[in-house]
């Protein structure tokens, strides 16, 4: 007993965290690889320049799953970080738990309401309070196409699902895998939502995946979505299960495969491989029914947990202001491969892909065809998303019929609701 407590006491003395006498901000996040970390560094540099110490708390893995575990442990121990990278309905859920503070005064002073699209505000301004500060918007319904592969069969990039489906046999004939696919559950969920919007349209998407309407989930449009998924299932190679998404990107980069359906974060892989958009590859939106516009968005933001120490509150404000700085938004997203959350940021510094994405978002936001990501837990919460992902990955890794697929998805969502 004595030994234990003495040693523990000694260790406490040694390891007690040095108290920051200056304003500081602890940022918990899961952006640890090259481009992601470089993006966050743009924020960090501004925060440090403004006289606030940056305490980095990175936890990578599972697209933020591991970080969320660490966050839950931190909150249970009554010691939440000042800021946590989050996405989707988790922001809303934590706000509803009453754990998030806000930077309303700063937002009013800097006029955030005017510069953020509604899509972004939906996931950062909860019940009228800015509890989270947006860094970027990702587009998840993208196709990454190898120009060499398309040149080889002499085809144009597909703009409809029929065109896309018709390409598959030609690619196979030419010895090219039509669709590079990473067979992990989360990737299949993103593919599903891209097809859901592309085949069903924005109204269907909202009714089925935001409102979770039972009839729509079991309706003919959903069956059509699963029919297209089944077609895509036939375009992948047998080694797809378990493959990392960036290895699938590599297959497009070296021309082994023709296309990959993946969010715009895939661009970093192409850029890193020295490929140029337009000459080596194309970034095109997933086909949309009836030539409609459409856009699936994912908003990343740093949520601010309530703090009582004035130095920490000051730190949060400086962090929030730094993230929303237009120059930082541009620098951040150049590195991250996404587009700024601020609509008024100077997009001319971004590459062609990102510029097109930004223009599409502005148009879709105005036309009401921008929909929140389902796989990224914006459209529905993590409980629903998880249950749906089980059904989707179950479908994709079997030879289930489209009817059965739609039914199993509807059943899973209804059971989790």
């Amino acid at each position: 007993m004595n030994k234990l407590s003495i040693t523990t006491a000694l260790l406490c003395g040694i390891s007690a965290a040095p108290a920051f006498a200056e304003p500081s901000v602890e940022v918990m996040h899961f952006w640890t690889s090259g481009g992601e970390a470089a993006a966050l560094s743009a924020v960090r540099d501004k925060v440090v320049a403004d006289g606030v110490a940056w305490a980095d708390a990175p936890v990578a893995g599972g697209g933020g799953d591991a970080a969320k575990t660490a966050l839950q442990a931190r909150i249970a121990s009554g010691n939440p970080p000042a800021a946590m990278l989050m996405l989707g309905q988790n922001v809303i859920d934590w706000a509803n738990e009453g754990l998030l503070g806000n930077v309303d005064a700063l937002a009013a002073a800097e006029g955030w309401d005017a510069v953020l699209p509604q899509a972004v505000k939906d996931f950062t301004k909860i019940d009228g309070h800015y509890v989270s500060v947006p860094t970027n918007v990702h587009r998840t319904d993208m196709i990454w196409a190898s120009k060499a592969a398309f040149d080889k069969i002499g085809a144009a990039y597909p703009t409809t699902w029929d065109e896309l489906n018709a390409l598959a046999p030609k690619f196979l004939e030419a010895g090219i895998i039509p669709l590079a696919h990473g067979g992990q559950a989360w990737q299949e969920a993103y593919m599903f939502e891209a097809v859901a919007l592309g085949v069903g349209g924005a109204d269907f998407y909202r009714k089925a995946l935001v409102d979770l309407d039972d009839a729509t989930l079991r309706g003919p449009e959903m069956v059509a979505v699963f029919t297209e998924l089944a077609a895509l299932r036939g375009m992948i190679d047998k080694n797809a299960p378990g493959r990392d998404w960036n290895l699938a990107s590599a297959m497009v980069i070296n021309g082994e495969a023709a296309m990959q359906i993946m969010g715009d974060w895939a661009k970093g892989e192409f850029t890193n491989a020295g490929k140029v958009s337009g000459t080596d590859y194309a970034c095109i939106p997933v086909p949309k029914a009836n030539g409609q516009a459409g856009f699936v968005y994912l908003v990343n933001s740093l949520s601010l947990f309530t703090q009582t120490d004035p130095d920490l509150i000051k730190g949060q404000e400086v962090l929030a202001s730094a993230i929303m700085d237009p120059a930082v938004q541009v620098a951040f997203n150049k590195a991250k491969g996404a587009i700024p959350a601020r609509m008024d940021a100077d997009m001319s510094g971004l590459d062609a892909c990102a510029q097109a994405t930004a223009a599409d978002l502005a148009a879709a936001d105005a036309a009401g065809t921008a929909v929140p990501t389902f796989a990224g837990t914006h459209a529905a919460n993590a409980t629903i998303g998880g249950a749906a992902t089980d059904a989707i990955t179950g479908f994709f890794n079997s030879d289930m019929t489209a009817d059965a697929g739609a039914t199993s998805l509807a059943d899973a969502i209804m059971a989790a609701k």
Binding site: M1, Q184, P241, G242
Partner: protein
């Protein structure tokens, strides 16, 4: 420390102290075990009857979480997998460990070199070796491709891509990690057997096979039991392994209760259901281990 020379100290006080010291020494361990193990088990049981989502909240919902749990196909897959996994893992590890130990016990040249080679996987976590294993098992870049490059083009090894067989890849990697350790336990057991018994049996004309089957292996019973405890504890806690190798895929075909519990508690904001799965698992472990521990400890008395 008591002084060495002690003549007429009050005997009752000293006896009293001597009687209490052992209990006092044991007390902190017992206290932390009661709090951090059994207290937390009780906490999990309570939690499993609440509607907790992201944080513990004590709004009771009765058996709702258990109903939800058993209605999930996902959970049935996990339960099925833990049985398939445990049975294969424990059997194969024990068999490999025993064979290697017996072979290594035959006055092998280079035993000192082989032993650490067999043992070292136990030193590495799957956070470290997971990527290498994933590569190795992947037909596109691993063993199959290598065999093809070496000219054996009909070679096929695609288990990891197959929903039915992927769980056996998990078994393979798990066996790789611990069979060397089991070997060490058996080797230690073999080295502890009294040589005279073996000599006597040989004089009686027993063949090597008979010697091992009739005498040596039965004498290794304690080693078998220790191996069983260590292996079942590792099987139950297997988590990193699945995350590193398959992430639970293809589909959800390699989910285990540990990955299920984690994902419901921390990713899917259903802490109540996660707790229900944890309690179910703990009860099952208890149902298997308590009779075993009871019989083991009772013999000692």
């Amino acid at each position: 420390m008591p002084t060495p020379v002690r003549s007429v100290a009050p005997p009752d006080l000293r006896t009293l102290l001597q009687n209490w010291i052992p209990k006092l020494v044991l007390a902190p361990s017992l206290a932390v075990t009661l709090l951090f193990v059994y207290g937390f088990i009780v906490f999990s049981i309570v939690l499993s009857f609440t509607g907790s989502k992201m944080l513990p909240r004590f709004s009771f919902v009765g058996w709702e979480n258990y109903r939800k749990l058993w209605a999930l196909e996902h959970w049935h897959i996990a339960i099925n997998n833990i049985f398939v996994f445990s049975v294969h893992y424990i059997t194969i590890c024990t068999a490999v460990g025993l064979v290697l130990a017996i072979f290594l016990d035959q006055k092998i040249r280079g035993e000192g070199l082989l032993r650490p080679i067999y043992l070292y996987p136990m030193a590495l976590s799957f956070i470290v070796t997971g990527t290498a294993w994933k590569w190795f098992l992947d037909p596109g870049i691993g063993l199959e491709k290598t065999m093809h490059l070496w000219g054996w083009t009909s070679f096929s090894f695609t288990w990891i891509k197959d929903s039915e067989l992927a769980i056996y890849c998990i078994v393979l990697a798990a066996v790789w990690q611990t069979s060397g350790f089991v070997m060490a336990m058996f080797l230690a057991g073999l080295r502890g057997i009294d040589n005279e018994i073996l000599k006597a049996a040989q004089i009686d004309g027993a063949t090597t096979w008979q010697l091992y089957r009739r005498i040596v292996i039965p004498m290794l019973r304690p080693a078998f039991l220790s191996a069983f405890v260590i292996l079942s504890h590792l099987a139950i806690k297997s988590y990193d392994l699945v995350i590193a190798l398959t992430g639970g895929g293809p589909g959800r075909s390699t989910e285990l209760p540990a990955t299920f519990m984690y994902s419901y508690t921390f990713t899917r904001n259903q802490m109540g259901v996660g707790a229900a799965s944890a309690v179910t698992m703990l009860m099952t472990i208890a149902a298997i281990m308590i009779p075993y521990l009871y019989s083991e400890l009772k013999e000692k008395k």
